[in-house]
């Protein structure tokens, strides 16, 4: 396939009257992990949410495989193949793990058994807990459920909003490993991360957003090596 899977093309967007994103450009190509980093309040999560149709896009366009989906309502965005894992409250706490996965497949209910099997293969920890309420799991396990739930549809691209926030280093490593596994299974990923170092280490390309605008763009390694970025986010010294 040629051209990007997902393209955020020069969007200006916000909630109600307030504009939060000023001319944001991000694209995700097939078979890559793209990381979006930046300080708190830079508009990273907002950028992801604009794809979902959760906020008002005033100008610019969102395209999926070249097809414009700007301001499409969330349930239709999901039907078109964009899966999203919110940062918090990303599982149905009162539903069992398996029921969460079944809900993830709402837009594509056929072949449920095989896809559940695929998910338990990708997230082996979840198999034993399939009948437990998702709310009873640890933070890391919930994140796994949330990601598995998002992958239950044939996602063309997976959007992750700070998947490692608040997790222990052990789980953080596991989540990034899973993200690489997901990419290897053929699903490109757009990830927003606070944890810039690990995110850029995993990503093929990265974007740095500051104050709702693009600041830097490059491969993961380039951005990691950039002194400016190191000083801003990576805790590096001059």
């Amino acid at each position: 396939m040629s051209g990007p899977i997902l393209e955020i093309d020069g969007i200006h967007a916000g909630y109600g009257e307030t504009e939060i994103l000023h001319d944001i450009n991000i694209h995700v190509d097939p078979n890559e992990i793209v990381a979006v980093i930046g300080p708190n309040g830079a508009g990273k999560s907002t950028a992801i949410k604009s794809v979902l149709g959760l906020l008002n896009i005033r100008s610019g366009a969102i395209r999926l495989n070249g097809e414009e989906i700007t301001n499409t309502p969330p349930d239709q965005v999901v039907t078109r193949g964009i899966s999203y894992v919110p940062q918090t409250q990303n599982v149905f706490v009162n539903l069992s793990v398996q029921e969460n996965l079944e809900m993830g497949a709402w837009t594509r209910p056929d072949g449920m058994a095989e896809r559940l099997e695929e998910m338990y293969a990708l997230f082996p920890d979840l198999r034993a807990k399939s009948r437990q309420a998702a709310g009873s799991l640890s933070g890391g396990q919930r994140q796994m459920v949330a990601m598995a739930k998002a992958l239950m549809v044939d996602a063309k691209v997976l959007l992750l909003d700070e998947p490692t926030a608040g997790l222990s280093p052990k789980y953080r490593g596991e989540i990034f490993q899973t993200i690489r596994n997901i990419k290897n299974s053929g699903v490109p990923i757009l990830i927003v991360e606070q944890n810039a170092k690990q995110a850029l280490g995993t990503a093929d390309r990265g974007y740095v957003l500051v104050d709702g605008a693009n600041r830097h763009t490059g491969t993961g390694e380039e951005l990691l090596a950039d002194r400016d970025i190191a000083r801003m986010f990576l805790g590096g010294r001059e």
Binding site: P74, P86, N94, M103, T107
Partner: protein, 316 residues
């Protein structure tokens, strides 16, 4: 022992308490589902129940007048449920839908207005006077009475009470199947859990909302028909009088918890009847005139002590 205690207690307090509890339980299911999924306290729920019961009576009366056949109230409940569901869906489409993103309090007040509109409409159509829902005296079930014939442990339970308790058990089992084992039922629980997450998961929330009105409307009509079978009368205020105990039941069980609402309904129904039992001395512990106060007291205590209810529902 049975002579002094059991006979009177079981026949005149425990069984009627259970019957009342079943009626509250079915009513509270709709309240708690609407509260959990549409996120507002629906004051018009009692009116939906009342209107459905009037529809059931009308259907029975029309069949009687045209064919001379007396239908059992549970048969008349079937077209009544269909009618009430259509009404609920129309009200949702044209009245509540524009409020979908409005603050909760606006929707609650809108539902209060809907309550007045529906009740007035029913009064215009059927008149404000009491109507006999079922005629004649429902004698205690003969088989049960014979079986327990010794006066020491005789059970005097009219057939209508068997229908109500048995019917409630069947409905609750169906509800359990729906919510735990069907796709739409699981989606209802998912939306109740988090509407935002449901939306970004791709669940069509409007479909779930319609399912909620269907399930809530049907159980409300069953509650209303059971209530009318029990009291054998129809009144335009029956829904309103049910509102407080139904809310108390929903809160006791935990908002958004249908089985909590069933449990809460049974507790409130039993409590209302049992407080009138002469536990101490020969006078009722609390005069039956204060029955409704019991539901209110339970609701207030729950809201203070444990606002999330027994089964840990939502708090607002």
């Amino acid at each position: 022992m049975w002579m002094d205690f059991g006979f009177e207690f079981v026949n005149f307090y425990l069984v009627p308490g259970l019957v009342l509890g079943c009626i509250y339980a079915l009513g509270a299911v709709g309240i708690t589902l609407t509260f959990g999924i549409l996120r507002f306290a629906n004051f018009a729920h009692g009116e939906l129940m009342m209107t459905g019961t009037y529809l059931a009576w009308t259907f029975g009366a029309v069949v009687l007048a045209t064919t001379g056949v007396v239908l059992h109230p549970l048969i008349t409940a079937i077209p009544a449920m269909a009618g009430a569901v259509v009404l609920a869906l129309l009200i949702d489409r044209y009245f509540y839908k524009p409020f979908r993103d409005a603050p909760t309090i606006m929707v609650v007040i809108a539902s209060f207005g809907m309550m007045l509109i529906v009740r007035s409409a029913v009064q215009v159509i059927w008149g404000p006077n009491q109507i006999a829902f079922v005629r004649g005296i429902d004698k205690p079930n003969a088989a049960v009475r014979e079986f327990t014939q010794s006066i020491d442990m005789m059970l005097l339970i009219p057939n209508k009470h068997f229908w109500i308790i048995g019917g409630t058990i069947v409905i609750v089992l169906l509800l359990h199947y729906l919510l735990e084992h069907t796709r739409i039922g699981k989606a209802m629980r998912a939306v109740s859990d988090s509407p935002d997450l449901a939306r970004v998961t791709g669940i069509n929330v409007e479909v779930v909302v319609r399912a909620t009105w269907i399930v809530g409307g049907m159980s409300a009509v069953m509650a209303g028909v059971f209530l009318a079978m029990d009291t054998q009368t129809l009144e335009t205020t029956m829904g309103f009088r049910m509102l407080l105990p139904m809310f108390a039941a929903a809160i006791l069980g935990g908002i958004g918890r249908p089985f909590g609402a069933v449990f809460g309904g049974l507790v409130i129904g039993l409590a209302e009847e049992l407080v009138a039992y002469p536990w101490i001395g020969t006078e009722p512990l609390i005069s039956p005139g204060y029955k409704t106060g019991v539901a209110f007291a339970i609701m207030v205590v729950m809201l203070i002590v444990r606002p999330s209810g027994i089964f840990k529902g939502r708090t607002f």
